[in-house]
């Protein structure tokens, strides 16, 4: 058996929508369990008092990265068939900065705002409306910023390719970095425990 299943034609696109819904349920469930439906917990990441965002995200990245690495090494998954979006470094760096600022102002990111709304939070709903307004603004100015949007294209490029390192080595380095980040996160949560919103719930 070969994966990704969809790319090998195991099911059609209508079935893929049902799978999308099921995967979405699991995604939303995990986000809510992790405390990501709460803007106070998400924002506390930027005040060093609650590091759930970093812990959950890096654990998830490491888990999926290791899983994909081993599944490709044993020949189960064909990595070349997994979609990797192209890098447009300058717009992505600027977009990331805007997103970071917006995160602290709004208290959510697009995925977590859906979970927040699903658990009855009005600010989550306002965030979603704002998000759609922002996308509308982007759509309206798009014809004027097309050049910038398509600038600095580097194609589909991964860290191992860019730094000329082996896939396995980069995987190993990311794991080491994550473990270091977890240690720092635990330390900082202890230091700023007095203003951790989770302790005040």
């Amino acid at each position: 058996m070969n994966a990704p299943f969809y790319k090998f034609g195991l099911f059609n696109s209508d079935v893929s929508l049902i799978i999308a819904f099921i995967i979405g349920i699991a995604f939303g469930f995990a986000l809510e369990r992790g405390g990501f439906g709460s803007a106070r917990i998400l924002a506390a990441q930027f005040y060093f008092s609650n590091m759930r965002v970093l812990k959950v995200m890096f654990t998830a990245i490491v888990t999926a990265m290791l899983g994909l690495y081993y599944l490709s090494v044993i020949g189960f998954v064909d990595l070349s068939l997994i979609y990797i979006s192209e890098t447009y470094i300058l717009p992505q760096v600027v977009g990331g900065l805007i997103l970071g600022v917006g995160f602290v102002i709004g208290g959510y990111c697009p995925g977590t705002s859906v979970v927040s709304f699903a658990t009855g939070k009005l600010d989550g709903l306002m965030y979603i409306l704002g998000l759609m307004f922002g996308i509308f603004i982007f759509g309206e100015v798009f014809p004027y910023i097309t050049d910038f949007y398509y600038s600095t294209n580097m194609g589909s490029v991964t860290l191992p390719q860019y730094f000329h390192l082996s896939y396995g080595l980069v995987v190993f380095l990311v794991v080491i970095m994550a473990v270091g980040a977890f240690a720092l996160a635990e330390w900082s949560e202890k230091k700023f425990a007095h203003r951790n919103p989770e302790n005040q719930l």
Binding site: I19, A43, A60, G67, G96, L97, F136
Partner: protein, 191 residues
């Protein structure tokens, strides 16, 4: 199974005394992360793609604008990309269905843990009105940022992070940089 159904339906019950669901603390972040990572891995293995969120909102916006002004969207490549070639409905989209799932999954998890409550998430020193305004403004900024970066925390940082995508890692570092840089100026909202 019946207790699970009872707990979920209790959210809509007028008489909360009948089925009382105690608010549970959030799960261990590392275990949650492993769970989330396995969901992402399942998406890679089954579909050959990762997770996402902002893409679904873009489809909704494009469909909305197209309903009001169809000539306008046809001349704009940003909208027309989300609208497709017209052979199928643009709403029959993988990310739209995935985000509907997120809505359902978040609700199920919240109901089981007694965390579905109408309210506003805010710091102790800000009014509700101001908080709602900030949520809207922050959302708008993130809509612009996510479109510029070709994805948000789900589609770029999480998915691209696990795929070791160069642009996604640069993007992720910049989210943290932007967030920490802005945090000081917004401390009154949260602390």
């Amino acid at each position: 199974m019946t207790t699970i159904v009872q707990k979920i339906s209790s959210v809509f019950a007028k008489d909360k005394e009948l089925v009382e669901v105690k608010t549970k603390p959030y799960s261990n972040p590392y275990l949650t992360g492993i769970g989330l990572g396995l969901v992402l891995l399942a998406a890679f293995v089954i579909m050959g793609r990762g997770l996402g969120a902002s893409g679904a909102m873009s489809t909704l916006v494009a469909v909305g604008v197209n309903t009001v002004a169809p000539e306008h969207t046809q001349s704009n490549p940003f909208y027309s990309e989300y609208l497709g070639d017209g052979t199928t409905s643009p709403l029959k989209d993988w990310l739209v269905f995935e985000v509907l799932g997120v809505l359902a999954g978040g609700f199920i998890s919240g109901s089981l843990a007694g965390r579905v409550k109408k309210g506003i998430e805010k710091g102790p020193n800000i009014t509700s009105k101001k908080r709602l305004l900030y949520a809207f403004v922050g959302g708008s900024l993130m809509g612009i940022g996510a479109k510029l970066a070709r994805g948000c925390t789900s589609g770029q940082a999480l998915t691209g992070g696990a795929l070791l995508n160069l642009g996604s890692w640069a993007f992720m570092m910049m989210i943290f940089a932007g967030g920490y840089a802005a945090a000081y100026f917004l401390r009154r909202q949260w602390l």
